[in-house]
Subunit: 398 residues, 2 copies
């Protein structure tokens, strides 16, 4: 039998309101008792007595057994979630940054206090990837997980590629439509998909990796010259986070733009949609596709977690108990297209191999292989130069 | 903690062998104790003592707590599965025909005897659609479920469409590659995807529908004229089972070829791949894509069920307990393309509306709307005529 959930909700933005909409149309034995908000002066569509600005009204209420945390501030979210889990309340969160940065500790706290933290909504919105990694691929050897994890960047890339919009116009549209976070760097710089990748890797491979150790370069410097290059080769540029098992001891994680061929399913994933591609030893290639952001899609993932808490569902993190732990290997060589402005940049980057070089008044680029660690070292210089790089396995045979 | 499973396996075809491969490479606390086969004279790669032709050696062995049923014969499978469930053994089956025809009774038996029957492998092989409908969409209002559920038909359609093969050559290739069942009618006639649709509908909508009441027309009469028609309209022909909620009381289920536009993700699903498209009120459109057949993909789904039985997992069929039961409505009007040979056929079919008619020496076709019940009545005549029909919502505004 399911138990009754009495909920304290933190945050009433687009996802919080989406969730409230869903819960109020159903008979789920779930009551939202109190909502903590930052700004008490905003107009709300609900009774004022439901809202408070004091977190303690939720955290200290013994009748509230479940916390839903949907605020932007990762540090504040960390305080709320850890306090709640330690005081015996189960928690649902969609805060990818907070979870990615503290997952190791959050798992320990759950185990010590017998509480449950669920966070399906934190990774690719409506796509049930965490639940499937936990429940369905728990005995599968996974070769890789990759995909399109950031709807905002993908929307921008689609608008540039398919409608010929300028980068800045496309970014503005994404923000106006609510697809982009307040600080666009999180999205277009590849931080948001990196947090999601780190969380997915914990469930897929049983490893906790600090986001700081993972390379992320985004689409900030994507230009018309790059678009033309891609189109001449019948490729599309997508921002693709990748986790790949290298051998029985090592794993590589990185977030980079990628030149994607038509034969790849990601080629057809457009606008705000997300997709997760799982390559497994026995199940072979699997793809999950759906909306990665927005109040209702993310709200539906949060609701699914909340509904599962009625049955005391917990992630088991089964792969964490594997004897052979994988470690992050940043010596992995990635085949790249690097379009650059100043020769100095390219001279400073150590290439493992170069398969093509092109210089002209319009376009300078190199096709070659570079270690992840070398890209991490040169990341600032790459972004400063205005250079754009993209994984180019479609063009380079390693 | 997980419990040890001692398994009796029925059938050692491509899926059974795939499963055995997977289990023997892992340390899962699972032992396959005995395998029942039909033909004792075949060469086997495993010790002879593992095999028997006597089902009772498994069914009467009190040490065997779990049955995996992977045989072709639906009637024999029904006997095995019901006997096992009634005698306290849990069962994993991939027999879509048997499950679709007896699901109502199989659920009752599980409830009466406290045993569990899992069958992820029966619907779209490696795609975890049943588990997701059970666990993730259990509180979601689902508008529709459709997709490509039969890898064999899809392989044939891909070969005809992309490589210009003749129907019979493509069918032969599918059979040689092991994608097609022994009797091709099951696949190309749309029976196999119908069984899968009926099973999925039970989990998505809480209804038991008899496969006999569901329309299925396949790709048997797909011709070069139909291919040309589709290509002129930038459409592809796919065999698409559909479950659609019409209102709060009614549901339509049918399997028909469909003219699919480029904007639909199913357009890009080629060869032996399967895809399930779920349209939900809050999660919006979701797509699951993967291999629908073959020893390892289906074996991996069966293994996932077996692994779940170590934790006493059961389907809860939550939507069966909904107060408002949906009923099958065969008065639903489907917009169709019907290419035919004899005028008599078209004169005998009652159209709700006709939006286009074309007659020439090369090609006779009608675009119009016909009720499902009318198609059921005329199914034999349609197949006999050599007529081909396809859902044509891409061409007809209803």
């Amino acid at each position: 039998m399911s138990k009754k959930l009495t909920i304290g909700l933190f945050g009433f933005g687009v996802v919080g309101q989406g969730l409230y909409d869903i819960i109020s149309t159903k008979d789920l034995n779930i009551e939202i008792k109190k909502i903590v908000i930052k700004n008490p002066n905003k107009d709300r569509s609900l009774a004022g007595s439901l809202f408070t600005t004091d977190a303690h009204e939720i955290l200290n209420d013994p009748n509230i057994n479940t916390i839903i945390e949907l605020i932007n501030d990762a540090d504040a979210a960390y305080e709320i979630v850890t306090r709640a889990l330690k005081s015996g309340k189960n928690v649902v969160s969609a805060n990818k940054k907070m979870i990615a940065e503290h997952l190791d500790e959050l798992v320990k706290i759950q185990n010590e206090h017998g509480t449950s933290l669920l966070y399906e909504g934190s990774v690719c919105g409506s796509i049930p990837i965490i639940r499937n990694l936990e429940e369905y691929y728990d005995n599968e050897l996974l070769h890789s997980i990759s995909g399109i994890f950031n709807g905002s960047s993908n929307f921008i890339l689609s608008k540039i590629t398919n409608e010929g919009l300028d980068y800045s116009v496309a970014l503005k549209q994404a923000q106006d439509l609510g697809f982009a976070e307040k600080d666009p760097t999180l999205d277009v710089g590849g931080y948001d998909p990196k947090y999601k990748l780190v969380i997915a890797a914990a469930h897929a491979y049983g490893v906790f990796v600090s986001p700081e150790d993972v390379l992320n370069i985004g689409i900030q410097n994507f230009s018309i010259a790059d678009l033309q290059f891609a189109q001449e080769h019948h490729l599309k540029v997508k921002l693709v986070p990748t986790a790949i098992k290298l051998n029985n001891k090592e794993l590589a994680l990185y977030v980079l733009p990628k030149l994607v061929p038509k034969s790849d399913f990601l080629y057809n994933v457009e606008n705000e949609y997300n997709a997760v591609s799982v390559k497994a030893a026995f199940a072979d290639q699997q793809l999950f596709y759906g909306k990665g952001a927005g109040g209702h899609p993310t709200g539906s993932a949060v609701l699914s977690d909340v509904a599962a808490l009625r049955y005391d569902y917990r992630y088991e993190y089964k792969k964490l108990n594997h004897v052979h732990k994988l470690i992050l290997q940043n010596d992995y060589v990635i085949p790249l297209y690097i379009r650059y402005i100043n020769e100095e940049l390219i001279n400073n980057i150590h290439f493992e191999f170069i398969s093509e070089q092109h210089k002209s008044n319009e376009l300078n680029y190199v096709l070659g292989g570079v270690k992840i660690s070398e890209l991490i070292l040169n990341k600032e210089a790459i972004l400063r130069d205005g250079a754009f790089l993209a994984e180019a396995s479609a063009l380079i045979d390693k």
